[in-house]
Symmetry: C2
Subunit: 393 residues, 2 copies
């Protein structure tokens, strides 16, 4: 039996669905984000296969890294086989060791925490602010001041006794987090910042590419991202030396020699294969077009949903030019999210809630954390709407 609330929320879902279908009468609305291959994807993958170099060495991997480097202010780029492995390497580059704690938001895709765990470290969740959906600067300042105790080896969590070795900021749905403000808070502690820019490839903030405001950023080229390599990621590093180390770790860490196999570190075999980079080169050539197409969606969603009450469309931060990876609405808080999502799905709209906050997942429920009220509130109100380039077409 439905409660009165369910009835109201189901009606809202049906209304939103009908408005969206009216706005996008021919688009495939059943999928949240589909990739689009309208460039030289076939041509480049054919060239790659015909060259015989499909694996971890090849011209397209180098080209992909160079093209990315041009987009990231000439920084060093290391292409990897997933966004998770890129984040794992970036955390290593930031100095995260086994047994450390790493400050991350709980409002992010699970890979952010998984990468911390792959370092043998423990996620420590801090709440976000509603406006940027990123780490709350003011809360972070107060929280760290209570939490941290300086020792010779760095900053330590007073309660757990573990070293806190880095902070990860996530540019959620492609919208830039306020990196400068966060750096202002953590710099006095000499805590390094890692940008999880998996969702923000192509986004700009204060005239700079998102992912270049701190020493290290991780990108993703998974199939659901704005540009894809099938599976893939990259580390963007300010320091060429750190990038060399991470590239070395992304291979099997063999020292160059015509025939000897001398591996001087335990490598991860995370390198992006050339055939995936071939796809990526073709996709990167279309990135600016894709950003334009995806940016055009926010206006169309605004016109479709502008007169629907209880629904607020999320727009880019001031000073930002977002890639709008995922279009986002927030429901008035009295609504039942599941009922709205259920109604949207009944109507064929591939809408999604926020990822379940990470402290609510069984493997992370015992991790240390600040109060997470904004995260929990957001997760009860947020819906992502179909956002692929194809929806705009």
């Amino acid at each position: 039996m439905s409660s009165l609330n369910d009835v109201k929320s189901r009606a809202l879902g049906k209304l939103v669905a009908s408005k969206i279908k009216q706005e996008f009468p021919v688009a495939n609305l059943g999928v949240l984000h589909e990739p689009v291959f309208r460039g030289r994807e076939l041509d480049y993958t054919r060239q790659c296969i015909e060259s015989g170099f499909v694996s971890s060495v090849g011209e397209f991997v180098n080209r992909f890294e160079e093209q990315l480097s041009l987009r990231f202010e000439g920084r060093s780029v290391v292409a990897t086989n997933t966004g998770t492995s890129a984040l794992h390497l970036a955390l290593i580059g930031a100095g995260v060791n086994e047994g450390d704690e790493v400050i991350i938001p709980a409002a992010t895709f699970v890979a952010t925490a998984n990468a911390v765990r792959m370092c043998g470290a423990i996620p420590h969740f801090v709440d976000i602010e509603l406006s940027s959906m990123a780490l709350d600067t003011q809360l972070l300042e107060e929280y760290l001041s209570d939490l941290l105790e300086p020792r010779l080896e760095g900053q330590f969590n007073r309660q757990s006794g573990r070293r806190v070795s880095a902070v990860v900021v996530v540019h959620l749905f492609g919208h830039s987090a306020p990196v400068k403000e966060i750096l202002g808070v953590i710099d006095p502690y000499a805590l390094p910042l890692v940008e999880d820019a998996a969702e923000a490839v192509g986004s700009i903030f204060h005239a700079r590419p998102v992912g270049t405001s701190s020493a290290l950023a991780a990108l993703s080229f998974n199939g659901n991202k704005i540009v894809t390599t099938g599976g893939g990621g990259a580390v963007v590093a300010e320091s060429a030396e750190v990038a060399r180390l991470l590239k070395h770790l992304s291979t099997t860490a063999k020292k160059p020699h015509p025939w000897e196999y001398f591996h001087d570190m335990p490598g991860f075999n995370y390198r992006m294969p050339n055939v995936n980079a071939a796809l990526g080169c073709a996709q990167l050539e279309q990135l600016d077009l894709f950003v334009e197409a995806k940016r055009s969606l926010v206006g169309r969603y605004a016109s479709a949903l502008g007169d629907v009450s209880d629904v607020e469309l999320v727009t880019e931060p001031s000073g930002g030019r977002s890639n709008y990876w995922l279009q986002t609405i927030l429901l008035e808080q009295s609504h039942d999210l599941s009922a709205v999502l259920g109604a949207l799905h009944e109507e064929g709209i591939g809408a999604r809630p926020l990822w379940k906050p990470l402290h609510e997942l069984p493997m992370y429920e015992r991790c240390p954390r600040s109060p997470l009220g904004v995260t929990e509130s957001l997760s009860g109100r947020l819906i992502n709407l179909p956002s692929g380039v194809g929806v705009a077409a």
Copy 2:
């Protein structure tokens, strides 16, 4: 200034090179192992890209797993993005935990040890026998009997106090290890065996596919393997239940639901992308032809090098039908390996020594181990010769 030994060894290298060039006058001998794309590689990757499914879900990944399953006695197969990640998952499937020790040979590619380390575990090296180049069964029996102490939680290393939780056997260069004998030694300790069959895809031993004689095996489809997916691997599991768990861990471990993101385990994002599986499907169709071509090389190397003294060609074990991934010669032990390799390279032969024994690498030099005399001796005598399908053509 060269020693007398160097002069003799350089002359041997030159002689071997000239014999090889005479036998294979038109082949590209500069590379140890090149992939060959003569099937439907272009067709399948085109289909894959046109389908829009290039990432971790798609028809080719399923097909690749099914085709492999047919080759591995119907066992469950989980396709991964590298051989290293396959081995990592297989070790998890065997029950390896953080802080455990895992018995492995030191005469193997570094990925075998790296995968152990990715579990947070410690490689424990045991010597090989010369005949199979795999773990020495008799030594293993004596060594484990001294080493192990049974406790409630399993077998423990008496000296280090750490649990010993698995044994990895490596089918070196495609030649089957004596798995049955090794199982005979370790079964009384209830130690699980993992087969590192990265190099042995397509090999047969006693009428069974190599990789099916124990509960878990890891395969590799790296660019230097007999068939390639660019980068890739697979776990072959006897238990469908274990395979389901490992497949879950190879993704982001999301529970199925039309829209909710509930991840119940820390997944690794190791899944093979569909575009790589498309390549793999085309390659697998040619595997039997590739095995034939590579098997034909051993006869040609035998006829080329049969009358060269101080050189012995390694052939498949009795009862085996090897894929002859890498053709191998052993030098009479008075030779200087570097001088022979140097001369081969000067003559354009892309020959390689055995991988540096793992206990001689800086990150593994302090790992526990048995005496490793055979490994060390082999590493001073072994040379791999160009072995790709293209050499045979």
